[in-house]
């Protein structure tokens, strides 16, 4: 891989972050290559590793910044200018206080035991710290850890899960009743719609049949009385045209309107589903 390939790869991988951030990052690494000198291009690429890793790190750091606003279970304390800002629960301050004498918490110390949920400004997964295993510095697949801790069901506190179960049990009978009602109403509407279409078809067929019959009778009377013929034939024609209109209308309803309505409803539901999913992701 050469510098161009590397940079365009990186650009592609960063396509889903805000433009300003992406531009900054790309500028940084461009400058980096330039400062290293063209003769060092290869060794720079080797030491930078893969564009994928870089993109992951950048996104992880970006995500890490969102979290302090949403205190969730297993969140962290931030050391800033001499103040502890404990955020959320899960990391007990006792743990932190117990670890050292003074009221400070180092993210590393707190990391022990809280695997995928110590995330924060530092965007680092802590699992590599507490084991005491000797590994070289790795800034980690924190992206993955962040994904998990940000959006995992498993990280809900126990009390929340129990609460949800209780609510579900209480609400269930009423919900079943309401749901049945809604389903029934929908079924009724659907039945009415199709009944209408059927009716229209029947009316159309009936009218046309009448028209044919009247025409036949009319012609039978033709010899006897032209006037009568004219009358009956006229009525027959009217019926016929009415029948044709009815058939056309029915055809249109069945053929075009019905699918269009279904599509419209489908789109509406899709829209609702997307909104719900967005809210879901935001809070979980």
């Amino acid at each position: 891989m050469n510098k161009e390939g590397f940079m365009s790869s990186l650009e592609g991988l960063l396509a889903d972050i805000p433009t300003a951030e992406r531009e900054e990052a790309l500028q940084y690494y461009n400058d980096y290559f330039e400062d290293a000198g063209w003769e060092n291009e290869e060794s720079v690429i080797r030491s930078l590793g893969s564009p994928r890793k870089i993109a992951e790190n950048i996104k992880a750091e970006l995500k890490g910044e969102e979290l302090p606003e949403k205190a969730k279970a297993g969140d962290h304390a931030v050391v800033k200018y001499g103040q502890i800002v404990p955020v959320g629960e899960g990391i007990s301050e006792e743990k932190a206080l117990g670890a050292q004498d003074h009221k400070r918490e180092n993210l590393n110390a707190s990391g022990a035991g809280q695997n995928d949920s110590v995330v924060g400004e530092y965007g680092n997964a802590s699992e590599k710290y507490d084991s005491g295993a000797y590994r070289s510095v790795e800034y980690v697949d924190s992206a993955k850890k962040l994904e998990n801790s940000g959006q995992g069901w498993k990280n809900l506190p126990v009390w929340a899960i129990i609460l949800i179960i209780c609510l579900a049990v209480i609400v269930l009978p009423g919900a079943v009743g309401i749901l049945t009602g809604i389903v029934g109403a929908l079924a009724g509407i659907l039945a009415a719609w199709f009944g209408l279409i059927l009716c229209g078809g029947a009316v159309g067929v009936g009218l046309i049949a009448t028209a044919i019959a009247l025409s036949v009778i009319a012609f039978l009377c033709l010899v006897a009385s032209p006037a009568v013929f004219a009358l009956i034939f006229g009525v027959g024609l009217l019926c016929g045209s009415g029948g044709l209109i009815a058939m056309a209308l029915t055809g249109w309803l069945a053929g075009s309107a019905t699918p269009a309505i279904f599509k419209g409803v489908g789109r509406f539901l899709h829209f609702c589903a997307r909104k719900i999913r967005k809210l879901w992701r935001k809070y979980f």
Binding site: E24, A25, Q27, Y28, Y29, D31, Y32, E34, D35, A36, V44, S47, L48, G49, K53, I54, N57, I58, A60, E61, G64, E65, V79, K80, Y81, G82, Q100, H102, R104, N106, L107, N108, G111, E121, Y122, G123, N124, S126, K128, Y129, Y134, R135, S136, V137, E138, Y139
Partner: protein, 108 residues
């Protein structure tokens, strides 16, 4: 290098390296100097710089240099305060661990 470098320590190291140049320094140079101290993956440094910048410990400015713009990072006053904090934290931490190691072999 046997021990892991956590996020806070990394911030501290980078901040300290940048602080050695009161007028500021640039990405590539920062990386080289940090790597003299710890064995750091080069893909790690940019997010750290970004974070320090967003925390207002570092500020950036561009300077024209041989026909191109180069972005310099410089420690802010908040950055100096944070660095002092890191320094004292580190001293206490290191002292405790040192005394733990030494305490084991002495009869005090």
């Amino acid at each position: 290098m046997v021990f892991n470098t956590g996020a806070a320590l990394l911030d501290a190291i980078v901040l300290a390296v940048v602080s050695r140049e009161p007028e500021g320094t640039y990405g590539y140079k920062i990386t080289q100097e940090v790597r003299q101290v710890i064995d750091l993956s080069e893909s790690t440094l940019y997010p750290v710089l970004r974070r320090l910048q967003k925390d207002e410990c570092l500020e950036v400015y561009d300077m024209e240099c041989s026909g191109r713009n180069r972005r310099y990072y410089k420690v802010t006053s908040q950055g100096w305060a944070q660095l002092k904090l890191y320094e004292s934290e580190w001293r206490q931490y290191a002292d405790k661990i040192t005394s733990l190691f030494e305490g084991g072999s002495s009869t005090t």
